[in-house]
């Protein structure tokens, strides 16, 4: 052991690390790696489309490649690169030593890496997923997607989803519990604030995806009936579920980018951000609204006029807080002494490209326009202006801004300018023309096209632009490696920025700060450099004493429960949807349930919540409480036994998960609940072990676990009321 800690090898240092900075860098390199793969796929798509009637790629190969391109770029590039920056900089910006849960943080990273690899194993297992990044049913049915690609897609997204939720919880707990003295919530740097809000989106939106892909997997592997109309399911329900996750996901990918821009623009304009409150507030507004507008992805499914009107309205509304931000950034630049370093160039270009993407987004909110151009290249142009012109431009800006802090060396400005101009020209060449292609009718996701007037030329311009972007990516990678070795030493604060990450050395020591500067406002380093005119003279952000520190285990358990609540709501909604679509077999299954017997087991489960409460109360009063804890575990186990009896009875009556819609949704819902009870029993057992061995932290852990246990019981009461007592 000693030998290992004294001279750990390079590999050991990086694989065993719990340092948020190292983990952040791992995220960034890994997403760069996947960016390479996704970029190659994009190049193949563009080469295939360079001439009409091309036969370079078969239709099957093309479908796999555009599906993998979309999935890779969204789940393996954009999300992790943002999480990587957050991992590195949120703790630094709030003056913390590390994340709240360093081990959980490392787990999230490894889940990301292996989830990504798992997705790519599909290439060797008979073919990658080929149903598009949103995997619409019924195309994902085994009769249309017979290879295992979709299964790999589901499993890898599940792995990634678990990692993302963990990261989300970790970031929220970090911000709420580990802020340095004086770093109040109202003084958070905007990047930290936005990622904090964003973490809530992750925690609440990912479980919807997890629930729906679990149902998809059950459909495919166990021949169940959730999403496939041929068996009585509903393909539109898949779309609802997917976009209920998918639209918040758009903002999960956009909000951190807004945060980066809000850090870069003030520093390079030499002005404090204009309208901090409005930027922070509009972020909250965007996050809230993003949960209520998903159906604008579904205007073409025939939801009905009233739905369309309401969702069109909501979608236009969300443009307002986003628009406010654009004006805030412009007003920050206005009258500032702007330095157009590469970072600032990307931030400025972001404003232009993102506005274009935003405007085409507002166009999509207009239902008839949506009907006209949905599933055409107009959508492709729109999503790339938002995700590439928006998010990735911000990420490039952030990379040039923060690379000196992470590596201790500056990126080459000369190569940076090459990277910038090649990206801007290549990007607009590639995607601006695609608006026109969409308007004149070129559908997306089709492997080739006929030689219609103008199509070939526009596609060739697009492909040429893609090559320029390819060149720009090579310049970027060259710049990264060259600057790591030969870059100009950066010093602590090369940009004369004001936030805490610049108050430590570059790269920061493992403990982050040897000494923190006093924090009396939003720009501690400005205050330090200008003691005669500190920010607090102009903007009073309140006293340093505010917001009580929250207890970590309970807060974490509460966030986990919030996430799980959404997961169960999705399953319950599915159950309700499908019990209203009754078929005869479903009636049969329902009549074979025994509310009386299950009622007794329900009472036992409720009793276990009571005994757990007694255990906790006993411990608070100094008693051991172990007897009550043991009783809780026994009662929970009896409940599981009751469930097993019920399942055996149903299976003996030949009610199986694929026998009817009712059985499908019944087994999924109650099965997942039983699984949660089981996990709760394990957690209670661990707490009991900690208490018996008198290990530190046993009581605190029980505080969190007991919240979870009560939650599982409440879920069961709802399930019991809906499944067993439903009139």
């Amino acid at each position: 052991m000693d030998a290992l800690t004294q001279s750990p090898s390079f590999l050991y240092r990086w694989t065993a690390t719990l340092d948020h900075k190292k983990i952040g860098i791992l995220y960034l390199w890994t997403s760069l790696f996947f960016f390479g793969i996704g970029g190659m796929e994009a190049m193949l798509i563009r080469i295939q489309l360079a001439v009409p009637g091309n036969t370079l790629l078969s239709p099957e190969a093309y479908n796999q490649i555009f599906t993998m391109h979309g999935t890779t770029m969204i789940f393996l590039v954009v999300m992790p690169v943002l999480i990587g920056f957050a991992n590195y900089f949120v703790p630094l910006m709030i003056g913390a030593r590390d994340m709240a849960f360093p081990r959980l943080n490392a787990m999230s990273y490894w889940l990301f890496l292996f989830g990504g690899l798992l997705l790519h194993f599909s290439f060797f297992a008979g073919g990658a997923p080929a149903a598009g990044w949103f995997s619409y049913a019924p195309l994902t049915d085994t009769s249309f997607s017979s290879s295992q690609g979709v299964d790999y897609w589901v499993l890898s997204l599940l792995v990634l989803g678990i990692g993302s939720v963990s990261t989300g919880i970790n970031i929220i707990v970090t911000v709420l519990t580990l802020r340095a003295e004086g770093m109040t919530m109202r003084r958070l740097p905007l990047f930290a604030w936005m990622f904090f809000i964003n973490a809530f989106l992750i925690v609440l939106a990912m479980p919807v995806l997890n629930a729906s892909i679990v149902m998809l997997l059950i459909d495919r592997q166990l021949d169940a009936h959730f999403f496939f109309p041929s068996k009585g399911g509903s393909a539109v329900v898949w779309q609802h579920f997917f976009w209920m996750f998918g639209h918040p996901e758009v903002y999960i990918m956009a909000l951190p980018a807004f945060g980066m821009i809000s850090e870069i623009i003030p520093v390079f304009s030499r002005k404090p951000i204009f309208g901090y409150t409005f930027i922070a507030g509009s972020t909250v507004a965007i996050a809230l609204l993003s949960f209520g507008v998903w159906a604008h992805h579904m205007f073409a499914t025939g939801l009905g006029t009233s739905f369309n009107v309401v969702f069109a309205f909501g979608s236009m509304l969300i443009a307002i807080p986003t628009g406010i931000k654009i004006f805030n950034w412009i007003a920050t630049m206005w009258g500032g002494s702007i330095r157009f370093c590469t970072s600032m160039c990307f931030a400025t270009a972001f404003l232009v490209e993102f506005v274009i993407g935003g405007l085409s987004g507002v166009m999509f909110a207009v239902v008839p326009i949506d009907w006209q151009v949905t599933d055409s290249y107009f959508v492709v142009a729109h999503i790339h202006y938002v995700l590439f012109g928006g998010t990735l431009f911000a990420v490039f800006g952030a990379l040039y801004y923060w690379f000196p802090k992470m590596s201790g060396r500056m990126l080459s400005e000369k190569l940076g300018k090459w990277h910038f101009w090649l990206t801007v020209i290549g990007f607009n060449m590639t995607f601006l023309v695609q608006h026109v292609l969409g308007l004149i009718g070129m559908p997306r996701r089709v492997y080739t096209y006929a030689d219609n007037p103008g199509w070939a030329l526009l596609n060739q311009i697009s492909t040429l632009g893609a090559f320029l972007m390819f060149a720009s990516a090579i310049v970027l990678i060259w710049n990264l490696f060259r600057s790591l070795k030969y870059g100009k030493p950066a010093g602590d604060n090369p940009w004369q920025a004001w936030t805490l990450e610049w108050a430590t050395s570059s790269p920061p020591p493992p403990e982050n700060f040897l000494r923190l500067p006093p924090i009396n406002g939003r720009r501690p380093l400005w205050d330090l450099a200008n003691p005669d005119r500190p920010d607090s003279n102009f903007i009073n952000t309140g006293t340093s004493e505010e917001s009580p520190r929250l207890a970590k285990p309970r807060l974490t358990a509460a966030l986990f429960i919030a996430s799980e609540t959404i997961f169960f709501i999705a399953l319950i909604v599915a159950f309700l949807v499908f019990t209203f679509k009754k078929d005869t077999a479903g009636e049969f299954a329902q009549s074979s349930l025994d509310p009386m017997r299950t009622g007794i087991f329900t009472a036992i489960l409720v009793l276990s919540s009571f005994t757990l409460w007694l255990a906790e109360r006993g411990m608070k009063r100094g008693a051991s409480g172990k007897g009550w804890l043991a009783a809780t575990i026994v009662l929970g186990a009896i409940f599981l036994g009751g469930q097993a009896v019920e399942y055996i009875g149903l299976l003996n009556n030949e009610v199986t998960i694929n026998s009817s819609l009712f059985a499908t949704s019944f087994f999924t819902l109650t099965g997942f609940h039983a699984f949660h009870v089981f996990l709760g029993l394990v957690a209670l057992g661990v707490c009991g072990f900690l208490l018996i061995r008198k290990k530190p932290g046993g009581h605190a852990a029980l505080g969190g676990v007991s919240l979870y246990w009560h939650f599982v019981d409440i879920v069961w009461l709802v399930v019991f009321a809906i499944v067993y007592l439903k009139p």
């Binding site: 507030g281 309401v310 102009f538 903007i539 909604v573 949807v577 209203f580």
Partner: protein
């Protein structure tokens, strides 16, 4: 009957609605006299919205004719009128304990759920006495609901966000249910007499089927209700920052 005739003639002037309206006006006058003239604009605004809800054609339509009108009726009585009242009369500091927050949340959300239990919903749609009960419970529930957010002793903005966001989630779930469920959640509206001139106007004149009506009703409970909550969240968030923006030297 045409739409114009509906607006002109279908005022809801039953003995009970007039009695409720008079009672409301007297209560407002009493409150202004008691709490000072500064409360008058907000209370009079609340009264106007209240009177509009009770005696305008909206009151008539929500009495078993138009489900979506009945939902607007709910939204105004539960979320808008009490909001004005709470802002005008924030009340004492004694009601800020945890149980009162729980009561506020449960009554605000519970009122919406309770009154859409099919038999209660139908009963309130056809029986004037029941509708008056409903009106009063909605007002009280709304007042209790808004107090922890806009009253004298307020929740911390983070708590307010949690309070309102969870209320929105609850409304959303019920709204989605009402909007998508193929059965009628309030049978009185689906069973309205086909020969009544108002129903003929709604079905033939406006081309508005009972199913579409329920859909709109569900959507109203879902999106506009949440937008009201969101506005309150933002108001609280901005006021959290506001007092700090003064120049201190």
């Amino acid at each position: 009957m045409t739409t114009q005739e509906l607006i002109i003639t279908a005022w809801h002037l039953t003995p009970i609605s007039i009695a409720t309206a008079v009672l409301g006006t007297l209560a407002t006058a009493f409150a202004i006299w008691k709490k000072g003239r500064s409360t008058a604009p907000k209370l009079i605004a609340a009264l106007c919205i209240f009177l509009f809800t009770i005696i305008s054609p909206l009151g008539t339509l929500s009495e078993g004719y138009l489900f979506s009108a009945h939902m607007i009726h709910h939204l105004l009585l539960l979320l808008i009128v009490p909001l004005f009242v709470v802002i005008a009369i924030p009340g004492g500091k004694n009601l800020h304990t945890k149980p009162w927050r729980a009561i506020g949340w449960i009554s605000g959300v519970g009122a919406m759920w309770l009154w859409h239990e099919p038999s209660l919903c139908s009963l309130a749609a056809v029986s004037p006495a029941m509708q008056a009960t409903q009106t009063i419970t909605l007002l009280i529930a709304g007042y209790l609901f808004w107090r922890p957010i806009m009253g004298t002793t307020r929740l911390h903005p983070a708590g307010a966000l949690l309070y309102l966001f969870s209320a929105c989630t609850a409304c959303t779930l019920l709204g989605i249910y009402v909007a998508f469920v193929p059965i009628s959640v309030c049978p009185a509206f689906a069973a309205a007499s086909q020969s009544s001139p108002i129903i003929i106007l709604i079905r033939d004149g406006w081309g508005f089927s009972a199913a579409a009506d329920q859909q709109v009703g569900g959507l109203l409970m879902w999106i506009p209700a949440c937008l009201i909550y969101f506005t309150a969240i933002l108001a609280r968030f901005l006021s959290w920052h506001e007092p700090q923006n003064t120049v201190s030297k």
